[in-house]
Amino acid sequence: MTFQEIILALQKYWADQHCIIAQPYDVEKGAGTMSPYTFLKALGPEPWRIAYVEPSRRPADARYGENPNRLYQHHQFQVILKPSPDNVQDLYLGSLKALGIDPVRHDIRFVEDNWEAPTLGAWGLGWEVWLDGMEITQYTYFQQVGSIDCQLESAELTYGLERIAMYIQEINNVFDIEWVSGIKYGDVFRTAEFEHSKYSFEEADTGLLFTLFDQYEREAKRLLDKGIILPAYDYVLKCSHTFNILDARKAISVTERTGFIGRVRNLARLVAQGYLKQREEMGYPLLNKVVFGGEENE
């Protein structure tokens, strides 16, 4: 199975389970959870089912394209099921079958792993899923997002696409993953990996980035004051990514670090509150959408 067939198979499978298949959100982020499709939609009483690929940037993990396992940018396949259906584990195992991984032939385990994202004020309980001893998925029941208790708990499934591909294709170097026949992962990304590594560790203009952080934060607050939530959240994401680059560049001192994380978390909380208020004012329009398993009013 090629990298792209894996994505297509997962999309098909989750589309059949009544998920919206969305496209990656176009602001830089460190994980699929940070997409507004997850972060915001996990809040409030409205149901939601979505699946999407999310390119996730982690400047500190950059390795100039030389490490067989670590990347500046990797790909997550993210699924949100809200509320979490009773058979969510079976649905998950079904998705592995769709990838040609027959649970009977393997050893699949759910090993306790509790997820937490301090910058988002978010946490949940769940597992990492092991396939013959390898972690392939993070599985979480959200309990709090944006420092707010989840009213209707979501199940979040995050597949590490590169890991799964390396397992299925039986290779040891991420750059050898076959994207499609004849084109390897390295052909697509190696230069980007090198250049982003160089940028993150050597070239990033820290003075500029500090200024940008402040400006993004100010803009987010200004928009929040006006009740304009979604653009405000984009600026929160930008703050977060800017912080990540500064962190990778070791430009943030030990004592400043907590302060920066606190600033992002504070913004995330304000956005979460603003979003909830907005949805309430709109009368929670997704409440009875039949596609998510609810009953249409009309």
Partner: protein, 696 residues
């Protein structure tokens, strides 16, 4: 007539380390409930797998026992008015008991007549009672972390998906927040298809076995043990069994099948811990050693499933381990490209705690305390040189690649890299030892330098956290200060050293005071830390089998030197059950009671005129100086013997002397004498808290 009761709670995979405590809880909760509800039974057992918590009660009665209870009401005086009519109080009582006026009768209690009611309740069928008890069990279990899901009103470790409560062959029907009870359980997640019907409680275990689930944890445990031993034997080795890991695996699998895998022998060049850590901590594999105890290039893992397709599972696991070992090997080579001294520089960028500064700052503070302890313990000049070198290097490995990836290897890599770069063996050993003891029951450092370093590091963390107000509260102890204080205590006791805690605390607290980051005034912080140690010390002593009252007697009288307090407790415990000692307690208690009224221990000898008081004065004068010498020399046995000689003069004194006389001068003088005696006793212990077990 009795039946068996099965109550199975089916859930998504419950964290393995929750299970042992959970099963005990379910047992205890059920036991209490049955007792409170007057339900007889033969035996309670609990079983657990990752997906189920099972309560199995053998021989449970079908009917609750009848209740017969005498309930006391108001006194007759309060129950009726002068005309014999019931008062408000009596009517209220009747209403509360759902009784009629004719139901009550009068009975005397300690000379007062009261109204009584004989409460009788027919026992209900157990089947009915269980409908409310079983849901209560479900919601009474508490977990270290629990979650909400699907709009349920209660929390659980992970979502509950099914409930199977069966009494004999009857289904007990109730609905808990939409989770329906049924006869249908589930077998192994992938090996068993569909639901399994449980017709009666006693067939449960066999039915599950047919569904590839071994419900009894003890059976799984011995099965895994045997499988592992056999596999190891086949390759001429022995499995390196670890009971904690075994217990975790027991609760990670429902149908265990062990398998053996291998890795390239070249990785055996790595330090043993570097190979074992990823195996055990990360992959839950058992290492295998040969007959001479040397690590072999094999591992044993336990699959949750049967023996089909074992080769695939084995290959997958081998691949994962290989990647981990390749990482470790890479880190090991990379790390050695730089000296530990270079890593120390990098500690300047590693945060220990926001206010307390970097880990580098911490090593400097550790060195200062270590230097103080070197002087106190009379360490040689060479020893001191090594100590300071070890203090400088002790945290360097935290920023190596290896420890960043496998944090369990802290200290172990530090020692390894120190030896490789030619540091003195004593330095290397101290780097490893300064983390000891790492957990309850772990060994303490063997070398003096390691001990000093370990105490210095732990004192720095404790004092630093107290300094900025982040001491432990309730279950919150993020810097594991309790464990560290217990560690310090254990090291001091194992080394039999006398050490003033307040001086040590002052030394460790000084850098924070100088930096001006104390939250609160220094004296109260110091007092809090001593109090913190006093509590830990008490727990350590209780763990070592000493009695509460003896411990309290000693540490209430004064607590600054841990080893000294221990010696007092040890001595006093020896004396506790001797008649000669028990006999003096009463005498000394009388002394203490009156001494508390004394303004000062001052004595004016010329004011003593009675024979008994003069005799007590002389007896006290005779032993006082010697007693003090004994205490200073920590000869507590001798001191106690001296103390006992005062019994007779004290008793005679109380027999013939009236202390609280009108004349203030005489009164204060007598009180002063008693106070002086108390002041002497208190140098060993506050005997007033010793509990006399013996009834004489």
């Amino acid at each position: 007539m009795s039946k068996d009761l099965l109550f199975e709670i089916g859930a998504e995979e419950i964290p393995a380390n929750y299970m042992p405590a959970t099963l005990k809880q379910v047992r205890d909760i059920s036991e209490a409930m049955l007792k409170n509800n007057r339900i007889a039974y033969e035996d309670i057992k609990t079983y657990g797998t990752p997906r189920r918590i099972v309560l199995f009660i053998k021989g449970i009665a079908e009917q609750q026992a009848d209740l017969e209870e005498l309930v006391k009401g108001p006194s007759v005086k309060a129950a009726y008015d002068e005309n014999g009519n019931p008062s408000k109080a009596l009517l209220g009582f009747l209403k509360g008991q759902k009784a009629e006026l004719g139901d009550v009768f009068i009975k005397e209690l300690s000379g007062v007549e009261y109204v009584y009611y004989k409460k009788q309740e027919r026992g209900k069928p157990v089947k009915e009672v269980l409908k409310t008890l079983l849901p209560d069990i479900l919601t009474s279990i508490s977990f270290p972390k629990s979650m909400k899901w699907g709009n349920k009103s209660f929390r659980f470790a992970r979502p509950v998906r099914w409930l199977v409560p069966i009494l004999g062959d009857e289904l007990i029907e109730f609905d808990k927040d939409g989770i329906q009870c049924s006869r249908y359980t589930k077998g192994h997640r992938v090996l068993s298809q569909g639901n399994i019907e449980i017709k009666n409680a006693s067939e449960y275990f066999d039915k599950l076995r047919a569904g590839f689930v071994i419900a009894d944890q003890e059976e799984r445990r011995s099965l895994i043990r045997r499988q592992c031993e056999e596999l190891a034997r086949e390759i001429g080795g022995e499995v390196l069994m670890d009971e904690d890991l075994l217990e975790e695996i027991v609760y990670l699998v429902e149908y265990p099948t062990a398998l053996i895998g291998g890795f390239e022998a070249e990785y055996l060049r790595l330090p043993k811990e570097v190979v074992i850590t990823p195996m055990k901590e990360h992959q839950r594999y058992f290492p295998v050693v040969d007959k001479s105890g040397k690590l072999m290039n094999h591992f044993i893992t336990v699959r949750n499933g049967d023996s089909r397709f074992l080769e695939t599972v084995k290959e997958g696991n081998e691949k994962v381990l290989k990647a981990r070992l390749a990482d470790a090997d890479f880190f090991y080579r990379e790390d050695r490209k730089e000296s530990l001294d270079n890593y120390v520089e990098k500690l300047k960028n590693a945060v220990f705690q926001e206010t307390l500064g970097t880990i580098y700052d911490k090593t400097q503070r550790i060195a200062a305390t270590a230097e103080y302890l070197a002087v106190v313990s009379g360490l040689s000049e060479d020893g001191k040189k090594n100590l300071l070198r070890a203090a400088y290097l002790c945290k360097a490995d935290l920023v190596t690649n290896m420890v960043k990836e496998f944090d369990e290897l802290q200290g172990i890599m530090g020692k390894e890299y120190a030896l490789l770069q030619g540091e003195d063996k004593e330095v290397a050993e101290a780097i490893f030892e300064h983390y000891l003891p790492r957990f309850a029951g772990d060994c303490t450092p063997e070398t003096l330098i390691g001990s000093i370093l370990s105490i210095s590091d732990k004192m720095d963390t404790i004092c630093g956290c107290f300094a900025i107000g982040i001491q432990p509260t309730g279950s919150q102890d993020p810097y594991a200060l309790r464990r560290q204080a217990i560690g310090v205590t254990a090291i001091i006791l194992d080394n039999s050293v006398f050490l003033g805690l307040s001086d040590l605390i002052e030394t460790s607290l000084k850098p924070f005071a100088l930096k001006g980051i104390l939250k609160g005034d220094e004296r109260s912080i110091k007092r809090d830390i001593i109090e913190f140690f006093r509590q830990r010390f008490k727990n350590v002593m209780i763990d070592r089998g000493f009695e509460y009252d003896i411990i309290d007697a000693v540490i209430n009288a004064g607590f600054d030197d841990i080893y000294d307090s221990y010696l007092k407790i040890r001595e006093l415990s020896k004396w506790k059950n001797r008649d000669e000692f028990l006999n003096i307690l009463g005498s000394f208690n009388r002394v203490s009671n009156l001494a508390s009224k004394a303004k000062s221990p001052e004595i004016n000898e010329s004011l003593f005129t009675e024979k008994a008081e003069l005799e007590l004065l002389h007896a006290f004068g005779k032993v006082n100086a010697e007693f003090e010498d004994c205490v200073n020399n920590r000869e507590y046995e001798k001191a106690l013997k001296l103390m006992i000689t005062l019994k007779k003069p004290i008793d005679d004194f109380f027999d013939s002397i009236m202390v609280m006389v009108e004349d203030e001068g005489i009164r204060n003088n007598r009180l002063g004498l008693l106070k002086s005696i108390e002041n002497m006793m208190i140098k060993i212990a506050d005997l007033s808290v010793v509990v006399v077990n013996k009834i004489s």
